[in-house]
Amino acid sequence: MIRLRSLITYGLLCIAAFVSVFPFFWMLIGTTNTSADIIRGKITFGGELATNIANFVAQVDVARVLFNSAYLAIATSVLTLLVSSLAGYGFEMFRSKFRERIFAGLLLMLSVPFAALMIPLFVMMARAGLINTYAAIMLPGIASIFIIFYFRQSTKAFPHELRDAAKIDGLKEWQIFLHIYLPVMRSTYAAATIIVFMANWNNYLWPLIVLQTNEMKTITLVISSLASAYYPDFGVVMVGTVLATLPTLIVFFLLQRLFVQGMLGSVK
């Protein structure tokens, strides 16, 4: 009976692993095959890697596109973490009569879909003269309600006595935040970094709306335009996809240990 249960468990895990890994595998295979091979469903390595890379480099200003994506993802992530963690810290540390009501109001806004905000946001950005600028991408995401919520919940485990001790040691509130809270909560920051960086790196819809020139386009927009061409070259698309996937994988593996800790709670 136990053996049968193990068999079923391992069988299901194998299927889940296959479903998770196969897209990556197919993506890598795709970079070495022609578009026709990919459409045919060929799942073995071919010899077209160099050609696909050359075609990709010829069609795309790789340095510019990567710079745009990296700049937007890093700058937005840093600002989001700073602003949202400050808000989470404030919500948890400072008593106020309206604290819970304001927080509940913020959480309620999570239920508003982005599609409903797009047009008002676009109008706001247009009026501010920010269309086709980095600021138009960065500003709407900086105060992320989910990240504020995540930091507030994590801050509940932050010992208030550390803040008291720091006050007695002569630290101002901003010094407490910078020198005590930030290092103590580093695994929460790591987990949030992964979430925010991935979201920003993969951000597609909003940049599609507000970025209008090729010089401003990010890697996700470029892949999308390659894939939606009249005769898409899927080998080239796969090279772009690998390039777009690598940074998020690197960030994840660098912060993996802290990410798990952050999900379990920063303060032990």
Partner: protein, 355 residues
């Protein structure tokens, strides 16, 4: 070292008053312990002295200077917390030197201060470890060390031993008493453990519902409490309280077969027929003797050196009797005990002591 004066100190959260007018003088170099049940305001009062809670009313003077609006770091105090509050990302050395570093003290001076404190507390071998690599007792010593290096006028301890096991608690208690002797600083110490209060304090302050019930030396409070609350709070096992009625002959104990005991020496005896409460410390009881009464033992607690018997007469109140010749006592035994009525304390129906 400095003394403290608290003048009509108050604390409110909205309309809810938690500290309701505290007046207290603490002499320089004194070891003062705030005790009281949970929620009595003792930690809040300590945090107000520390500058971690705003003072809603009254004046706080440290060393003769009004400190109500002075920043916590500039009050000349250092605080040791129940949870130690050590910075987890810093080593023991960095934790101890943290306040001095932010005060702009030169590195050589910080090293000297930290090393001196480490020597006093025997922390030399632990200086490069982080708090997570230390035991509870070691962490508490580091927390005390962090306080010492600041050379404060006043040390504040907020239930510092509550997270330690029983053996370590006794050791740390002795260590804190030794430190007070060596440093001679003013210490304010909050605890709900009345054994800590009795053993450490020069002066105990008993708090209830945000007011001081009584203040004085440990033995004064133990022997001569102002009210039933203080009498019941200090002492382990706690004082026995027995209902009595004043008669012409003395006090009639209804729950002990209507036995009458002589009225303890008080300046003005209450009128005949008045209901009072008689307070009897467990150690007042002696086995046998004249005017003894019978009680049946319900529970026996053998502590080795002495025995506590919880006994009663019929359906009367349970008495706790402490005896050093109780090894043979067993549940269900009937024993005769007596006490010296002159040492009984009398409280009126409001719980105030009749003297």
């Amino acid at each position: 070292m400095s003394g403290l004066e608290l003048r009509d100190i108050r604390k409110s959260y909205g309309s809810h008053q938690v500290i309701r007018g505290v007046d207290l003088d603490i002499k320089a170099g004194a070891f003062v312990v705030f005790v009281g049940p949970s929620g009595c305001g003792k930690s809040t009062l300590l945090r107000m002295i520390a500058g971690l809670e705003e003072i809603s009313g009254g004046d706080l003077l440290i060393g003769g200077t009004r400190m109500n609006d002075v920043d916590a770091s500039k009050r000349g105090i250092a605080m040791v917390f129940q949870s130690y509050a050590l910075y987890p990302h810093l080593t023991v050395r960095e934790n101890m030197g943290f306040a001095l570093k932010y005060a702009g003290t030169p590195k050589a001076e910080i090293d000297k201060q930290v090393n001196d404190a480490a020597q006093v507390l025997g922390l030399g071998a632990l200086m490069d470890r982080r708090p997570k690599d230390l035991s509870g007792g070691q962490r508490q010593r580091v927390a005390i060390g962090r306080a010492i290096v600041r050379h404060p006028q006043v040390f504040l301890f907020d239930e510092p031993l509550s997270n330690l096991d029983a053996e370590l608690r006794v050791n740390m208690r002795i260590e804190i008493a030794r430190l007070h002797k060596e440093l001679g600083s003013t210490i304010i110490y909050v605890t709900h453990d009345q054994v800590e209060a009795m053993t450490l304090a020069d002066q105990i302050v008993v708090l209830r519902d945000g007011v001081i019930e009584q203040t004085g030396s440990p033995l004064t409070l133990y022997d001569d409490p102002d009210n039933q609350f203080v009498a019941g709070f200090l002492g382990s096992p706690k004082m026995n309280f027995v209902a009595a009625t004043v008669t012409a002959e003395g006090l009639q104990l209804a729950e002990f077969g209507g036995q009458v005991i002589p009225m303890p020496p008080i300046s003005s005896a209450p009128a005949v027929g008045t209901n009072v409460t008689v307070g009897l410390r467990p150690e007042l009881f002696k086995r046998g003797g004249p005017a003894a009464f019978e009680v049946t033992v319900e529970i026996v607690e053998h502590l080795g050196g002495e025995t506590y018997a919880h006994a009663r007469q019929g359906a009367g109140a349970v008495l706790t009797i402490a005896t050093d010749d109780g090894r043979s006592l067993r549940t269900g035994d009937t024993v005769t005990v007596h006490f010296d009525p002159a040492r009984a304390l009398i409280f009126d129906t409001n719980g105030d002591r009749l003297r």
